[in-house]
Point group: D2
Chain length 361, copies 4
C-alpha cells in the first residue's frame, strides 16, 4: 500500500472488510488510518458463528457488498492477497465486473481449503506476484502465461526488513494483553495457532495439546488469539477455559499485536510455536527457531529454522527443548529480500488492463 | 439425474436456482417435474439488470441461499456442471462446507469469463468428469490427481442419443413461438446466439449482424432467445425492435424449446448459426452443419461440421450459402458416445468422500 | 429534490435503487441526471421473478445495500416516499441506524400490502408530511406527536402545477412507444393498470377486462406498462399476447413516459382508466375524468372526477361512455396547491434530529 | 409452542435464527430440542459487530433467509413475538408473502427502537395477542379491528406459573458460570442489563455504574451476559475488564441460564437489578423486588414491586438497600394469569386466513 501510494502513476483505494473491521480481531481499521491511509469503503460482512456454513454465507455477503463498492469506486485494478475464504468475494466481484485482478502469494502449497482457494484465485487473476521461485513455477504450470507472472518476493518481508531495525524502546503504549506480563528480555515462547478448516471439530483438542506443552516447559509464553476461520470460537473458548481454570500463569494473551511488535517478538523469542505461516516465511528471513504443528502449513517451502510436529503434547514439548537449546538460525531469503512492494507498484503502473484470460495449454 | 435416481446406492436431491426457476427463461422447473423428478429446494437468486455488477451480486445471493439449502439437505456429494457464473455459488458453498464436489465438463477452453470460472471450479472440485480427451489432459495438467479424473464423455450426448430416435409426430403441444410458423420439413436455419460477457456492450450489434445475414439468405429461420448472461437484455431488445420494425417475416422466435425438440431441429436444420456450444458438441455427434460466430467458443475442440466466422453480416451470409449447399456431415464422437450418465453414477456410488485436496506438483 | 437542493441549509444526497435503476422500467436514473441531479449511490436490489417471495427477498437485499450506502454517506435525515414494498429497506436502515426519518404521503388508506407498509412506516418516521387533511388526522390518530406532523400537500402536485403550463410543442424526442401512433389532439383514452399484490394471481384476467372494454369503445388508447410489483410479469405477458394476436390497433404502448408528458396526457385525455393513484391525486388537481378499477385505491380520498368500477369489461365500457360524454371536471385541491416541496425543505432545515420516538397515548 | 403442538387442529413448525442459533448466546437451539420440539429450519443471520449498521444488515440477511424458509415450509400462519430488531425479517417475509401474521406482546410502550418496531409490527399483523389491558387498548387505538385483538396475557407468565413449582433440587447440571459460586439460599442480587440501542455509546458506562453499586452493597450477585443488540460487545468487554481487574469476587457470571432456573432465581433473589423486562412482567407475577435502571422499560405498565432509577451508582446502591430491606411483594396479575398459550392456540385454530388489512378509521 505504501509503495502504491508513493507511485505517481497509481492512485490507491482501500476497501476494508471481514475481520479487519471488527474490534474483536484487533481493529485493523484504526491501525491502517494511523499509518496515514484513507479507507474508501468499509464492509461488515462476517456472519456470526464461525462454522463452515457461516464461512460460505459471509463470502456471499462479502460478494454483494464488495461488488457495490467496486461499482462506486470504479477501480482499474484490484489487488488481493493470499488465500483466505473471504478473498473469493473480492476475486469474483473483480473478475465478473471485468476489473483486472492482481494476486500476491499465489502458487504456494498448504493444507486446508486455502489450498483450493489459492489456486482458484490464480485461475481468475490477470497478474501474478508469487513470493518464491517454487510458487512462480507452479503458477506457470497451472497454465498462466509466463509474462503475467512476476517473482517479486513476499511483501510482508518488506515490512519485516524495516521492522527489524526497531528496538524495545520503539514500542510504547502496547496493548496490555491479559494474564501475566512477560519479560521479553528473558527467554520466552511465542504461540500463534489457528483452526484448520477441514479439521475444525478438532480445534479444541489441538490448542490444548499446545497449551499443555508450553505449560510443561515452564518457559513464559506470549499467546495470540486465533483468526476468523471456522473453529475460531472453539479455540477461543478453550483459551478462555484454560485461563478460568487458573492455568494461565506465566502466560500473556493478546487479541492482535501491532505487526512491528510481532516481528520484534519473532526476533527475540526462544521459539515460535503453532501453525502460523509467519514462522515459515518471516521466520526464515529473521532466523527464528520455529515449531510448526499439524497440517496447516504442509508443503509450504521452508528453511532450516522449522521443526514440524503433530498435535501431540509430548512431541511439542520435546521440540521446544530442542529449539530453545539451539537458538537463532542463519537468515534465508526464500521469500524475497524486502523490495516486493516497489516492484509490484512499478509493474502495475505499466500493465495492460482487461486482457481476456486463456489457459496456456 | 436419471442415472443417479436409478442407482440404488445413491439418493438424488435437486436444488434449482438462477434462471431455471424463472418463467422468462422457459420454466425449467416445470420441465424437470414433468420428467418425474422431485425438486428439493428452489432458490430465487438472480438480481434484475443483467450487467457485470448484477452477475456478481446474484452469485452472492446464490451463495447465501444455496449454503442454507445444503445446510438443510446435508448432501454427501454436490454435482455441478460446466462454467456459468452462478455455478460459483454452488462450488464455494460445497467446498467451504466440506462437501465432496463433482464437476462435469471441466478442462475445456473457451473465450469469456466462463474460461476462468471453469478452471477455478476444477481447482475446487474433488472428482472430475471431463467430456473429451483434450479436457481430461488439461485437468491433469492443472495439477489434479489422475485418479480423480474420469473421462466419461458429455452427459448431454446421452440425451441426444435418445432424442435422435424421435420423429416429428412425437412432438405435440409445442410452444407456439411468436412470428411466422416455420415448416421444419423444408430447409430452415436455426439461430442461437448468446451475449459474450467481456464484450457485452457489443451484444446489440452482434445479434443485428446475424439477423441481417439470415434475412438476406431468404431461408426461413427459427430463432432462440438468449440465456441469462450480462448483455441478454440488449440482445432481447434488439430482437424485439427487429420484430417491431416488421423485419420478422419468415422468422419464428422461441424463449426456450424442449431439449428433445431442439435436438430434432439440429437434425433437420440446413444450418445452425450463432455461438451456442451445442453446435460444436451435439453438432459433431449429430452431423449438423454449423456456423460458429465470434469468440465465445474459441478453442473448444471441434469437428469438421463447424465453420468459424466473425460478427460480420457478409461473412455469415456467405457461410450460410456454403453450409446449406454442403448438407449433413458425418457423425464424430469427440464428446462421448452416449453413456456418460451411467458411468458418472457408478463412479460416484463408490468414491471416497471428504478428501483434502492438494495440487499434484 | 429541487427544493432541497435550492435550500442553502440543506445538502442533497440521492440514493437510487429498485426499479429506478432498471432500463426495463424506463431508466429513471438517466432522467434524474438529465434534470441536473447527482446520484450519490446506485443499488441493484430487485430479484427477478416478481412474486411475493421475490418482493421479500428484494427488500432484504435492499436493506443490506442501503445500510452500506447510509454508512458511507452518513446522512442526517433520510426522506422516503409513500408505501412501496422496497421502501421498507430504506425505512429500517434509517431507523436502525438512528438516522432521522422523514416520510411523505403517509396516513392515506388504500387496498393492498401498501396499506400495511404505509402505516408501519408512519410508526418508524420521525417527521411526517401528509398530503391531505384526512391523512394528517389519521397519522395523529396513529399515535404520532402533533408537532411532528406537517400538512404540506403532495409534492407531485408541485410538478403537475408546473407541467400544466406545457403545450404540445414542448415535447420533442418522445419515446416512440410500440403499436399505432395515437393523435393526442383527438379524443383518446389513457390506461394505467398495476397488479394488486394480494390478488396477484388475478392480474392476468384484470388487465384483459380493461383491454377488452377499451377495444369495444373504439376510441384510440395510450397504454402504460405496469410497475415492479408481484404480478407485473403476468400483466406484461397479457399485454404482449394481446399485441401478438393483432388486437392492438388503435393502441400505443409505453414502458415509461416522461412525467411531464404524462401530465400533459392527463390534461388532454377523454378519460384515464386503471388503478393508478395519479387518477385520484393529480386527476383532482387537473380535472381529468377518471375510471378507477378494482380495490387498489379503495378509501383514498377522492374528488368528483372519479367513477369507481370493478374488474368487469362491461362496467368499464359503460363508464368510458359516461366519462367521455361528461368531459373535463372542475379542479379540486384535495392534495395540495403546489408548494409542498418548498415547505418540506424549510421544515427539514430547522427540525431537531435523533429524537427518540414514543407513542402519544 | 407446547400448546400449539398439543392442539390437534394445528401443526407446529419451528424456524430458529439470529442469536438463538449461536452458542455465544446460550445455544437456545439445544434447549428447544431438549424440550422435545423439532426445529424445521435454522438460519445464521447475525452479522458480527453489534453496531446499528450490523443490526440493519442482519435484518436484511434474515429477510432473505426466512423468506426462503417460508417458501419451503409454506406455513398458513406465522407467529412472532415482541419487538426485537430481527423480528422485522419475520414480519416482512410473512406479510409480503401473504401469510397470516400473529403477534404477541404488541401494544406496549418502551423506550428504544423496539418502540417503533413493536407498533410497526402491529400495523402488519393480522391477529394480535396483547399481554395487558393497556396494550389491548393501544392496539385498537392504532386502528386495528377490535375482533382481531385478543387479550390473553403474556405467554411467558404461563411458564413462570409452572416453573414456580420447582425447588432447588430440580436444578441439576446447571452451567457452572464463571467467578465465585453464589449460594442462592442466602441473600443475593440478580443483575440483567442490556444495551439501549439509541444510547449504545453509553453502554460501557451504564454497566459500570451498576457493577459498582452492586460491589458497594457487598451482597453476592449473579450477573447475566447481555443480549445481541448494538452495544452488546461494549457491555461484554466492560464485564470482562471488571473481572480481569479482579473486582469480581462475590460475583458469578452466566451467558444464558435455563429459563426455569432464572425464574427460580427471581423467586429467591433479594433484588433484581438492571433493565430487563422480566423484572416488570414476571416480577409482578412473582412479587420480586426490582430496581429498574434507565430508559429501556419506560412506560411499560408496572406493579408496586418496581423502583425506577437512573444510571447512577449511588442511586442504584441506595435502591438496593431499600429493596433488600423491604423483601418480597404481593403478586399482581397485570400480564395475565398463566393460560395465554392455550388461548392463543385455540384462537389460531379457528381464525380466518389471508384477510386484507385495512385501518379502522
Amino acid at each position: 500500500m505504501s509503495e502504491i501510494k508513493r507511485n505517481r502513476h497509481l492512485e490507491l483505494q482501500v476497501v476494508l472488510g471481514a475481520s479487519a473491521v471488527l474490534e474483536r480481531y484487533g481493529n485493523v481499521s484504526k491501525l491502517i488510518k494511523k499509518d496515514g491511509f484513507k479507507i474508501n469503503f468499509e464492509l461488515n460482512t462476517l456472519i456470526e458463528g464461525s462454522s463452515p456454513l457461516t464461512m460460505a454465507k459471509s463470502t456471499g455477503i462479502g460478494l454483494i457488498d464488495i461488488s457495490s463498492a467496486f461499482s462506486n469506486l470504479k477501480p482499474h485494478i484490484v489487488i488481493t492477497v493470499g488465500d483466505r475464504f473471504e478473498t473469493m468475494s473480492t476475486v469474483l466481484a473483480a473478475s465478473y465486473m471485468n476489473i483486472t485482478l492482481a494476486h500476491t502469494m499465489g502458487g504456494e502449497v498448504t493444507g486446508t481449503i486455502d489450498e483450493s482457494i489459492r489456486h482458484a484465485i490464480t485461475k481468475f487473476a490477470n497478474i501474478h506476484f508469487p513470493a518464491s521461485i517454487d510458487a512462480k513455477k507452479r503458477i506457470i504450470k497451472l497454465g498462466e502465461n509466463r509474462e503475467d507472472v512476476h517473482l517479486v518476493g513476499c511483501p510482508r518481508i518488506d515490512l519485516v526488513k524495516e521492522y527489524l531495525k526497531k528496538s524495545k524502546k520503539d514500542f510504547k503504549d502496547l496493548p496490555p494483553g491479559v494474564g501475566d506480563t512477560i519479560n521479553t528480555e528473558k527467554p520466552f515462547l511465542l504461540v500463534s495457532q489457528h483452526p484448520v478448516t477441514t479439521e475444525y471439530e478438532d480445534a479444541q483438542n489441538q490448542i490444548i495439546q499446545t497449551l499443555k506443552a508450553v505449560k510443561k516447559s515452564n518457559i513464559p509464553a506470549i499467546i495470540l488469539w486465533p483468526n476468523a476461520d471456522a473453529g475460531t470460537e472453539d479455540i477461543s473458548r478453550e483459551i478462555r477455559k484454560w485461563r478460568e481454570k487458573g492455568l494461565d500463569n506465566k502466560m500473556q494473551f493478546y487479541k492482535n499485536l501491532p505487526i512491528d511488535y510481532y516481528v520484534y517478538l519473532m526476533k527475540k523469542t526462544a521459539c515460535l510455536i503453532g501453525n502460523s505461516s509467519s514462522g515459515i516465511r518471516e521466520g526464515a528471513f529473521i532466523g527464528t527457531p520455529v515449531i510448526n504443528i499439524g497440517s496447516r502449513q504442509n508443503k509450504r517451502q521452508r528453511g532450516k529454522n522449522v521443526i514440524d510436529v503433530s498435535h501431540n503434547e509430548d512431541k511439542i514439548f520435546r521440540s521446544i527443548l530442542k529449539q530453545v537449546k539451539r537458538g537463532k538460525y542463519n537468515r534465508e531469503f526464500i521469500y524475497g529480500n524486502g523490495n516486493a512492494g516497489s516492484q509490484i507498484a512499478k509493474i502495475l503502473s505499466k500493465c495492460k488492463l482487461n486482457i481476456q484470460k486463456k489457459i496456456a495449454y
